[in-house]
C-alpha cells in the first residue's frame, strides 16, 4: 500500500512540475520534451488506477504521435518565441491576480466538498471488477453498447477535423505526374514508342 501511495505522489508531483515547466522554459524544444514527460507520468497514474489500456494508449498516441509531431512543427517553423512573450510581463500582474482569485475560489469550493447520500447511488455506469475482465474488453463492451452514440459522434468529429485539415492546407498543384495504374497498364508499346530511321550525323 505504501509503495502505491509513494508512486502516486511521485507521478503526480512530476506531472505538475513538468506541466509548469512546459509553459515556463525558454526553449520550445525543451517545452515539448517536458510535455512528453508529463504524458509519461500521467500514464503512470493510469497504471496505478489499473487502467493499463489507457496508459498504453496515452504513451502510443500522445507521446508516439502527437508530441513527436509537435516537435517536428516546433523545429521546422522558426518561431521567435521571445517576441511572442513580449506582452507576457505586461499582463502578468492581472493574469496572476485572476489566477489567484480563481484558485482561492476553487479551494473554497473543494473545502465544502460533500457528496450527498443520493449521489453515491447515482454514480454513472459501474465498471466491472478489473479482475474479471481485461481492460480492453471492459472498454469495448461499454463503448460499443452504451456509449455507441458518443463513440460515433466522436468519430464524426474526427472526420470533420480531417476534412478541415485537408480543406485548409491541401492545394492541387498542376504539372504533378501521378501514378495512374490502370492507364499505365493499358498502354501498349506502339502508343508510347515509335521506331524511326535516323540518318547518321543528323539526328531527328
Amino acid at each position: 500500500m505504501i509503495i502505491q501511495a509513494l508512486a502516486f505522489y511521485l507521478f503526480a508531483a512530476v506531472t505538475v512540475a513538468s506541466a509548469v515547466a512546459v509553459i515556463s522554459v525558454r526553449n520550445p524544444v525543451h517545452s515539448v520534451l517536458f510535455l512528453i514527460l508529463a504524458f509519461f507520468n500521467s500514464a503512470g497514474l493510469f497504471i496505478l488506477l489499473g487502467a493499463e489500456f489507457l496508459a498504453m494508449i496515452l504513451v502510443v498516441v500522445y507521446v508516439g504521435a502527437v508530441a513527436v509531431l509537435f516537435m517536428f512543427v516546433v523545429m521546422m517553423l522558426d518561431i521567435n518565441f521571445v517576441e511572442l512573450r513580449q506582452g507576457f510581463l505586461q499582463y502578468l500582474p492581472i493574469g496572476a491576480l485572476i489566477g489567484l482569485i480563481l484558485l482561492v475560489e476553487i479551494l473554497v469550493m473543494v473545502g465544502g466538498w460533500a457528496l450527498s447520500p443520493e449521489i453515491a447511488s447515482a454514480v454513472a455506469a459501474p465498471t466491472p471488477a478489473p479482475e474479471t475482465v481485461t481492460n480492453t474488453h471492459a472498454l469495448g463492451e461499454l463503448i460499443y453498447t452504451r456509449y455507441v452514440y458518443l463513440f460515433q459522434a466522436a468519430g464524426i468529429i474526427l472526420l470533420v477535423a480531417m476534412i478541415g485539415a485537408i480543406v485548409l492546407t491541401h492545394r492541387r498543384r498542376d504539372g504533378v505526374r501521378r501514378q495512374k495504374v490502370s492507364e499505365q497498364i493499358a498502354r501498349r508499346a506502339e502508343e508510347s514508342a515509335t521506331v524511326r530511321q535516323v540518318e547518321s550525323g543528323k539526328g531527328i
Binding site: 506582452g87 499582463y91 492581472i94 493574469g95 485572476i98 482569485i101 480563481l102 475560489e105 473554497v108
Partner: protein, 652 residues
C-alpha cells in the same frame, strides 16, 4: 366555396401585381404582360361576381345567413379578434353590388386605359380595392371592418394618384388621404369607445348587448354622456369622412383627378358608400341614440342640397357627377337618420348602377373628345356617339328619379320615409330632398345638353376625331344601364316593400316607434308625386336655359354674380379650410420645427443625448482591440467575476 368570392379579387390583384415586375423594357413582352394582367383580374372578378350571385340567392333570397370563421387574428386579453366573414343579407347585397359593378369597371378599364403604360399596376390596384371593399362589407368585427376601411382608403390614395407625374393628381391624393384620416380618427375613437363599453369588438356580441347598454353613460373629458350617443357620433364622423358628407367632403371633387374608371368604382359606386354601409351595419347601436340619428339626418339633408347647388354651376363633366354623388349620399344618410336603413341601402344599390353608368359614360365622352373634360368645349356630338348618348340619358333619368328608372323607386321611398318620419328634422330633410331633386334634374340635363347638343365648341381637330368607344367599353355600360333600368323595379319589393322583413332578416334593427318606412307607404298622394313633378320641372328649366335661350345662363350669372361666384367656388369651403387649418398648421409647424424642435428640443434632447450615445459608442468600440489575448482575458475575467459575485452574494 363562397369564400372565394371574397378572395378571388385578392388573387387577381396579386397576379397582376407580380406582372408589374416582369414587364421590362421589351415592348412586345410588356404588351403580353398587360394582356395577362387584364385577363387575370377580369377573370377573377367575373368568377367572383358569379359566385356572389349564388351567394346572394343562398343568403338573402333563401334566408340562410351564416358566418365563416377563417382563423384567429388577435388574441390578447379581452381583445379577441378573428378573421371571419359575416354573410347576412346586408353583407351579400353589398358583395353582389360591389363585385358586379367592379367587374364591369374592370372590363371597361381594358378599353379606357389601353394606351396607358402601366396597365398591370392599374388592374392590380382595382382588384385590390375590390378585395378591401369586400373585406369591409363582410367584416364580422370592428377591427376587420377597420382593416377594410383603411385598405380602401389606401388603394383610393394610390388610384387617385395613379398618374403620379401630374402634380394635381398627387395633391388630390394627399388631400383625400388626409381628410379621410380626420374621419378615420373619429372612427377609431368610436371603436375604442365600443370596446370600452362592451369589452368586445365582435359585431354579434355588441348587438346582443346593445339593448342592455341603452342607458349606459361614458366619461368623456370629465363629463357624463350617453354612451351610445358618443359612440354613434364618433362612428358617424368616420362615415362622414369616407362618404364625403358636408365638412369632410372637400376631397371628393378633387379625387376626380384619378382615371375615370377609378372615379366610377371608388368615388361613385363603392368606397364612398362605405359610410352608409357602416351606419346601416351598426343600426343596432344607432337605434338607441335619437341624438345621433338626428345629427345624421341634418348632415345628410344639408349635404344633399349643398352639393346639388354646386353641381349646377360646375363646368367639368366629372365634377358635376361627383357633386351629384355627394348629393345622393346625402339622401342615403338622411334615410338612415330617419331609421329607414333599408331605403338607404336600396338607394345605395340603385345609385351604384346608374352612377357608375354616368361616370363611365362621361369617361366614354372624354375618351371620344381626346381627353377633354370641360363641358364648355364640348357640344354637338350626340349624333356622332349615339350609344353613349342614349346611355347617358338612361343614367340621367335614373338619377333624376323618373319612372320607371331605378332611381325613382329608391329616391321616392327615401323622400316618403323622410316625410313620414313626422319629426321636425324629417320635414327639413324632406323639403331639402325635394329641392335637391329639382336641382339634380336641372344639372343632369344641363350636363346632357352642354355635352351633346348645341353648336360644337371643340376645335376641328378634336371634332374630326370623335368616335364611339370600343365594344369592351360599351358592353359594360349596357349591363350597368340594364341595372339602372330594372334594379329599382326588381328590388323594390325585397328591399323596402312587402318582402322586406324576411329579406333583411336580422341584419338590420329598427326599434318599434321608428316606423318611418312603414308609414312611407301611406303618405298623401302629393308627396308621392311631388318628386316626379319637380324633376320634370328641373328638366324643363334646363331645356329652357341651355337649349332654347342659351344667353340666359350668362345673363343670370352676371346679374347674380355674387351667388354664382359663391357656388362656383364651392361655398368657399376649400378657402375656409385653408385659412382655418392648413395655414395655421404650416405656421405652427414651421415655428415648432425651427424654434421648438430645432433650438430647444434638439439642442437639449436628441443632440445632447446623441452626443453622449456616440461617445459611449466610441468607448464600446475601443474595447475591441483585435488582440486574441485581450479577448481571452475578457472571458476569464467574466467567469471569475461571476463566480466571485456569486460566492459573495451567497455568503452574504
Amino acid at each position: 366555396m363562397y369564400t372565394f368570392a371574397i378572395f378571388l379579387p385578392l388573387l387577381g390583384a396579386m397576379v397582376a401585381g407580380l406582372l408589374v415586375f416582369v414587364g421590362g423594357e421589351d415592348e412586345e413582352r410588356r404588351a403580353r404582360m398587360d394582356r395577362a394582367a387584364q385577363w387575370s383580374t377580369c377573370g377573377a372578378m367575373s368568377l367572383a361576381s358569379i359566385i356572389a350571385m349564388f351567394l346572394f340567392k343562398e343568403v338573402a333570397l333563401d334566408g340562410n345567413p351564416y358566418t365563416v370563421e377563417l382563423f384567429t387574428w388577435i388574441d390578447s386579453g379581452a381583445l379577441e379578434v378573428s378573421w371571419a366573414l359575416k354573410l347576412d343579407s346586408l353583407a351579400v347585397v353589398m358583395v353582389l353590388m360591389v363585385t358586379v359593378v367592379s367587374t364591369m369597371i374592370h372590363f371597361y378599364s381594358i378599353g379606357y386605359m389601353h394606351h396607358d403604360p402601366s396597365i398591370p399596376r392599374f388592374m392590380s390596384y382595382l382588384s385590390l380595392f375590390t378585395f378591401f371593399m369586400l373585406m369591409l362589407v363582410t367584416a364580422d368585427n370592428l377591427i376587420q371592418l377597420f382593416f377594410g376601411w383603411e385598405g380602401v382608403g389606401l388603394v383610393s390614395y394610390l388610384l387617385i394618384g395613379f398618374w403620379y407625374d401630374r402634380p394635381a393628381a398627387n395633391a388630390a391624393a394627399i388631400k383625400a388621404f388626409v381628410v379621410n384620416r380626420v374621419g378615420d380618427f373619429g372612427f377609431m375613437l368610436g371603436i375604442f369607445a365600443v370596446f370600452v363599453l362592451f369589452q368586445s369588438v365582435n359585431l354579434d356580441t355588441i348587438f346582443s348587448a346593445a339593448a342592455g347598454k341603452a342607458d349606459a353613460t361614458i366619461q368623456v373629458f370629465g363629463g357624463e354622456f350617453h354612451a351610445l350617443t358618443v359612440i354613434g357620433l364618433l362612428l358617424f364622423v368616420g362615415a362622414m369622412g369616407k362618404s364625403a358628407q358636408l365638412g369632410l367632403h372637400t376631397w371628393l371633387p378633387d379625387a376626380m383627378e384619378g382615371p375615370t374608371p377609378v372615379s366610377a368604382l371608388i368615388h361613385a359606386a363603392t368606397m364612398v358608400t362605405a359610410g352608409i354601409f357602416m351606419v346601416a351595419r351598426l343600426s343596432p347601436l344607432f337605434e338607441y341614440s335619437e341624438t345621433a340619428l338626428t345629427v345624421i339626418t341634418v348632415v345628410g339633408a344639408t349635404t344633399a342640397i349643398f352639393a346639388a347647388t354646386i353641381g349646377c354651376v360646375q363646368n367639368d363633366i366629372k365634377r358635376v357627377i361627383a357633386y351629384s354623388t355627394m348629393s345622393q349620399l346625402g339622401y342615403m344618410f338622411f334615410a338612415l337618420g330617419v331609421s329607414a336603413y333599408s331605403a338607404g341601402i336600396f338607394h345605395l344599390m340603385t345609385h351604384a348602377f346608374f352612377k357608375a353608368l354616368l361616370f363611365l359614360g362621361a369617361g366614354s365622352v372624354i375618351h371620344a373628345m381626346s381627353d377633354e373634360q370641360d363641358m364648355r368645349r364640348m357640344g354637338g356630338i350626340w349624333k356622332m356617339i349615339p350609344v353613349t348618348y342614349a346611355l347617358m340619358w338612361i343614367g340621367s333619368l335614373a338619377l333624376a328619379g323618373i319612372w320607371p328608372f331605378a332611381g325613382y323607386y329608391s329616391k321616392d321611398t327615401i323622400l316618403e320615409a323622410a316625410y313620414a318620419a313626422g319629426s321636425g328634422v324629417g320635414g327639413y330633410a324632406f323639403w331639402m330632398g325635394i329641392t335637391a331633386a329639382f336641382l339634380t334634374a336641372f344639372y343632369s340635363w344641363r350636363l346632357i345638353i352642354m355635352t351633346f347638343h348645341g353648336a360644337p365648341r371643340a376645335d376641328e381637330r378634336v371634332m374630326a376625331h370623335v368616335h364611339e368607344s370600343p365594344k369592351v367599353m360599351i358592353l359594360p355600360l349596357i349591363v350597368l344601364a340594364a341595372g339602372a333600368l330594372f334594379a329599382g323595379y326588381l328590388g323594390f319589393e325585397y328591399f323596402v316593400g312587402s318582402n322586406a322583413a324576411e329579406f333583411w332578416g336580422n341584419s338590420i334593427l329598427v326599434l318599434p316607434g321608428h316606423d318611418a318606412l312603414e308609414n312611407a307607404h301611406s303618405v298623401p298622394l302629393w308627396v308621392k308625386y311631388l318628386p316626379l313633378v319637380v324633376a320634370g320641372a328641373g328638366i324643363a328649366l334646363a331645356y329652357v336655359m341651355y337649349m332654347f335661350a342659351p344667353g340666359l345662363p350668362a345673363a343670370l350669372a352676371s346679374s347674380f354674380s355674387a351667388v354664382h361666384r359663391f357656388l362656383l367656388n364651392k361655398w368657399y369651403f376649400d378657402e375656409l379650410y385653408d385659412l382655418l387649418f392648413v395655414r395655421p398648421a404650416f405656421y405652427l409647424g414651421r415655428n415648432l420645427w425651427k424654434t421648438g424642435d430645432g433650438a430647444i428640443i434638439d439642442g437639449v434632447g436628441p443632440d445632447g443625448l446623441a452626443a453622449a450615445t456616440l461617445n459611449l459608442a466610441r468607448r464600446a468600440a475601443k474595447l475591441q482591440t483585435g488582440y486574441l489575448y485581450h479577448y481571452a482575458f475578457a472571458m476569464l475575467i467574466g467567469v471569475v467575476s461571476v463566480v466571485t459575485w456569486y460566492l459573495f452574494t451567497r455568503a452574504g
